[in-house]
């Protein structure tokens, strides 16, 4: 306990530098989750409602990709963005942009797969009624997303948790450059390897507090809405 208290005191002393790390962490993870949500929810809805050849294979693949190791994603994005790589001209390597791309890739399968499951359950309940009312696939998809919105919030939060917690991908494509691409997880890894355990612990406590706060807020909103809409 003493170490954590010491760590928190040190964290508070860091003020501006730390503030920058926290803000960058949130920026990168929130942007990545936003992109992954914008792509993942429609993908999940498509897989839930549409029947096509190879659908099951895609679902198995998507579920498997949920367990994608962050370092592997980091490595692949690194190869794509490195100077000699196909997207090297963009000059994104070792920038927050690269970190956002890597985390988006990491989080997309989680959001899409969890959304697919939630929407497929809803579709089983709604299909006959919606078809009876004359809903086309696209309309049915949007209706399902809106009606399953509470479950989808959970899917998005799972994605956010993954993004905020991972260190491997942002370390590789971001490079942990002080003041540029250093985020909380990479800072914790660095301080730990330098042997400054109190500071690492303090940063860890901040990270956990932020994740906890986001989830608590989402849960409160969800419960309130659920009470209202049944």
């Amino acid at each position: 306990m003493g170490a954590i208290a010491e760590g928190l005191r040190r964290v508070l002393e860091l003020d501006r530098e730390l503030w920058h790390i926290v803000v960058l962490s949130l920026e990168v993870s929130l942007c990545a989750v936003f992109i992954a949500t914008a792509l993942g929810l429609p993908l999940g809805a498509l897989l839930a409602v549409k029947r096509f050849a190879g659908r099951r294979a895609v679902i198995v693949l998507l579920n498997a990709l949920m367990g994608l190791p962050p370092v592997v994603v980091g490595l692949l994005i690194y190869l794509l963005l490195s100077r000699a790589g196909p997207l090297g001209e963009l000059g994104l390597l070792f920038t927050p942009g690269a970190m956002i791309i890597a985390q988006s890739v990491l989080v997309l399968p989680i959001i899409a797969a969890l959304a697919r499951q939630a929407l497929e359950d809803a579709w089983r309940e709604y299909e006959e009624q919606l078809r009876s009312l004359g809903a086309r696939e696209l309309q049915a998809g949007f209706t399902l997303m809106w009606d399953a919105r509470f479950s989808l919030v959970t899917a998005v939060l799972a994605g956010l948790g993954r993004a905020a917690a991972e260190v491997g991908a942002v370390m590789i494509v971001g490079g942990n450059i002080d003041g540029v691409t250093r985020v909380m997880t990479t800072a914790i890894a660095l301080e730990t390897s330098k042997g400054d355990l109190p500071l690492a612990l303090g940063l860890g406590a901040v990270l956990i507090a932020i994740v906890l706060a986001v989830n608590a807020a989402a849960q409160l909103i969800k419960e309130g809405a659920q009470r209202r809409y049944g």
């Binding site: 309940e125 709604y126 006959e128 009624q129 078809r131 009876s132 009312l133 004359g134 809903a135 309309q139 209706t143 809106w146 009606d147 919105r149 209202r228 809409y229 049944g230």
Partner: protein
């Protein structure tokens, strides 16, 4: 609304339906006319629900044809409605559930609310218009399902055991609304295994057993002198629960 040709009669021509190699409906040929109200009667598992879904177009027959007196499939879809045994309500207000159906039916946005409120009035749910649909009682939800259908002014209303999950009081309220549909000129096709309800709502009976139409007769005749031994046996078994 301009007067146009009815989508009825509906003709089933040697229709069969099988699922996973199991035959559920076998060689059903029948015509459904605008009059009278039709009851599809039969025990659980006789194929009533599947037959209704084949008529309504939610299932496609494995063999045979289902034909309406209207070639345009989209038009046929818009001019009929179905109420299921367990109503499926969207996670929004009662009113919004009716508005949703109207918007899918292509009703102009400016006219939807007025039409929806009339429909809610018809089933006695106007005072609950802004309640979330999913917190309504089972009977209220089923009446809301009827309001959703009412707003669409369907020419044909299919009802699949609409009161099977309701207590007798709620069931009577549903029957009252169904009779109002009938009075307004909507063709009623209702599946039930409840003989009392069949008599209260229907004018004719199609008796179904093991996926086959065993008998079709005017309701009083059917109850007084069933022509088939199967129907007589079914009624003997069912009567204690009427």
């Amino acid at each position: 609304m301009a007067k146009r040709a009815s989508i009825l009669p509906l003709a089933l021509d040697n229709v069969s339906y099988a699922s996973n190699g199991q035959s559920i409906i076998s060689n059903v040929t029948l015509t459904i006319d605008a009059e009278p109200s039709t009851i599809i009667l039969g025990a659980n598992g006789a194929g009533k629900s599947v037959l209704m879904r084949l008529m309504h177009g939610l299932l496609s027959p494995s063999a045979g044809r289902v034909r309406w007196n209207e070639p345009d499939a989209a038009s046929v879809r818009r001019r009929q409605a179905m109420v299921f045994q367990r109503p499926v309500m969207l996670r929004r207000s009662a009113l919004a559930n009716v508005l949703y159906a109207l918007s899918l039916a292509g009703v102009p946005a400016a006219e939807r609310e007025a039409q929806a409120l009339v429909a809610l009035d018809e089933v006695g749910l106007r005072h609950l218009a802004h309640r979330p649909a999913r917190v309504l009682s089972g009977g209220e939800q089923q009446r809301l399902a009827l309001a959703r259908a009412w707003a669409l002014h369907p020419e044909v209303l299919f009802l699949d055991e609409p009161t099977a999950n309701l207590d007798p009081g709620a069931a009577r309220e549903i029957e009252t609304v169904i009779r109002a549909f009938d009075a307004a000129g909507t063709k009623i096709v209702m599946a039930t295994h409840n003989l009392g309800q069949a008599r209260r709502v229907g004018d004719e009976v199609i008796y179904l057993q093991a996926g086959r139409v065993i008998e079709r007769a005017p309701i009083e005749q059917f109850f007084a002198r069933p022509a088939s031994a199967e129907a007589a046996a079914f009624m003997k078994g069912e009567l204690p629960w009427v």
